[in-house]
Symmetry: C2
Subunit: 363 residues, 2 copies
């Protein structure tokens, strides 16, 4: 294969995606938003964000906006949610027409309550098609493009795919087996993501519920913060698993209120991702929750971590959405109160355990 893939971002997910695509023999280019970091990655093939990982030699790294896409037939967007809009605004005029855009970001934009693919679509919708450069695409990426939007010339909003699932980067970096879900309204583009990421350690399922897959991927980070707090309080796996079940119920309620399918929350991108995020010792959100429960202030935790803890801003965004849609989310509300309102994790657990006894309701 010789398809060309552009990866936006040089964080954990960008690196492990580059590794898989390079293994497939694809021409891969990583674009990093901060020039110094990108140059360092290009030189050392290593990143302080992913211990022990070595970037394959075939992967190019650039910090130049004009070189970000270079006629790529597939773009992987791996930018943290709260920087997503500014990065795409910066690069929007370079985006090759007809390219499939695969988003691996998990979060909700504060203020707009938009999902990552919505933010990208929103930015690209403001680009006048006439102002887009007529990017010359090579044979390989033309082949890719034809499968995404056959016959299209200048497509203002390229087809978008949300790629999600249980994907702790430290494990993907070691090429341990994982399953992912590629959700898109464009079945051809979902199939392309499935095909290009078909390496021995990845199994990609297609899906059509973009709302559900993205909402599950964003909201699970909130529940993971709570799971980490249970670890920090040494309350045990029974409590953490009950939290997982009740957390799943409340994030599914919100998803359904927004138009997602309930089933999505009980699949790989839902409960699968939630489980790994709540239980993997290396998960960033879980770790942040654990340190909070041990008494460390949020600011000091965040400033000590080399990667963004998506669950923290996402908690604000999710609670706002829950209120706007009148969805009861007691765990999210408790996490919000702990992060931003001074409640302690111990008080929160006592409150949750002490709620009125009742019949269980799911969904």
């Amino acid at each position: 294969m010789s398809e060309s893939v552009a990866i936006l971002g040089d964080g954990q997910m960008a690196l492990v995606m580059a590794d898989a695509l390079a293994y497939r023999g694809l021409a891969v280019r990583i674009w990093g938003p901060v020039a110094a970091d990108a140059l360092e990655l290009a030189r050392t093939r290593r990143s302080p964000r992913l211990d022990g990982f070595q970037l394959p030699e075939s992967v190019q790294v650039t910090a130049e906006d004009r070189a970000a896409f270079d006629g790529a037939g597939m773009i992987i967007s791996a930018i943290p949610t709260q920087y997503l809009r500014s990065v795409w605004q910066r690069l929007r005029r370079q985006v090759p027409p007809r390219a499939c855009i695969i988003s691996v970001t998990k979060g909700i934009e504060i203020g707009t309550s938009m999902r990552p693919t919505q933010v990208i679509a929103d930015v690209l919708a403001t680009v006048q098609t006439s102002k887009r450069p007529n990017v010359q695409t090579g044979d390989a990426s033309r082949a890719v493009s034809a499968r995404c939007a056959p016959g299209g010339q200048d497509v203002p909003n390229p087809p978008l795919v949300a790629l999600s699932g249980p994907s702790i980067a430290a494990e993907l970096a070691r090429r341990l087996p994982a399953s992912l879900v590629a959700a898109s309204a464009d079945a051809g583009c979902a199939r392309l993501a499935q095909d290009l990421l078909h390496v021995p350690w990845l199994r990609v399922y297609r899906h059509d519920d973009v709302i559900g897959v993205e909402m599950a991927g964003a909201t699970k980070n909130v529940i993971a913060l709570a799971a980490g707090m249970i670890d920090g309080l040494q309350a045990g796996d029974n409590a953490k698993s009950a939290l997982l079940a009740r957390g799943l119920a409340e994030i599914a309620r919100l998803g359904v209120a927004l138009g997602a399918k309930l089933d999505t929350f009980f699949g790989i991108a839902g409960v699968g991702d939630l489980a790994t995020t709540c239980f993997s010792p290396v998960g960033r959100n879980r770790t942040c929750g654990e340190r909070l429960a041990r008494g460390e202030p949020l600011d000091s935790i965040l400033s000590s971590m080399s990667s963004v803890v998506e669950g923290v801003p996402t908690t604000r965004a999710v609670l706002a959405m829950a209120r706007a849609h009148h969805v009861d989310m007691p765990i999210t509300a408790a996490v919000h109160a702990i992060l931003f309102e001074g409640l302690t994790p111990r008080e929160a657990i006592r409150d949750l355990m002490g709620r009125e006894l009742k019949a269980e309701q799911v969904g």
Copy 2:
């Protein structure tokens, strides 16, 4: 309170239930099927099956069949599935009329494919009501009985409750917080279980889907064996979480085919119990799977463990049910092939990862 509760069995769950009920000030009596073990427990207040646990002094222990119930208003049945029928047959003529029976057993009887509450009901249905002794019930248990089956005299099949949820005994023994589900067609009896187990570390939800709660409790042990194998192969939490999601989908499919509600599998007794069983390091089924994947023969693992590994016989029973109801259960089939047909865990994972790429389906 002064209600009297009889607990059948002296295994892990019997012990932690006794602890909670004694904490509530109830008169609790444990009946053990093996006299020597029961006497040792009565004397030492400790059990080789639950390290560090100390049985409260107020809990009585007996090995005498005639003293098993002694007019109890509530009976907790905590006998491993494959011994359940013989124990209830042995004691069936002693069962006080109108007592609520709470089953905490998680499994399926081989041969009959019956759930634990079905086995108990089946045994009790063979008892002629006229042959049951007219057990004298005290004030307290009369109060209990009145709430279970008001006005009843001799009820051939007492009301049954399936009590389930994420409940690793080693954690309950330390009184770490946990949530359980009490499922019954008899709402009064479910409410009684909820009331009597209302201690600071337990939160009991009522439920009406007995089939779903029992099927989830049985089948999750099969998935936990597979989860342990992933641990034994050091394949990581991404793989284990994907297995959890795909395992949940297949056990839910079987449950629904048997008349369970899909939602039950996504609640505390479903995904909650599945998560703790797959992730808690001390879970017996997970541990058994881990040792299998490291190359230890099944016989040697089972003979070294002080408690029954329910998942092993349950795998046979579940696969038989799946075939009878034409439900596709690839993970259960793989576990069966590993346990009884000589497949290795590594071969099984390769087979599961190599299945045809497709769209994800839940339920």
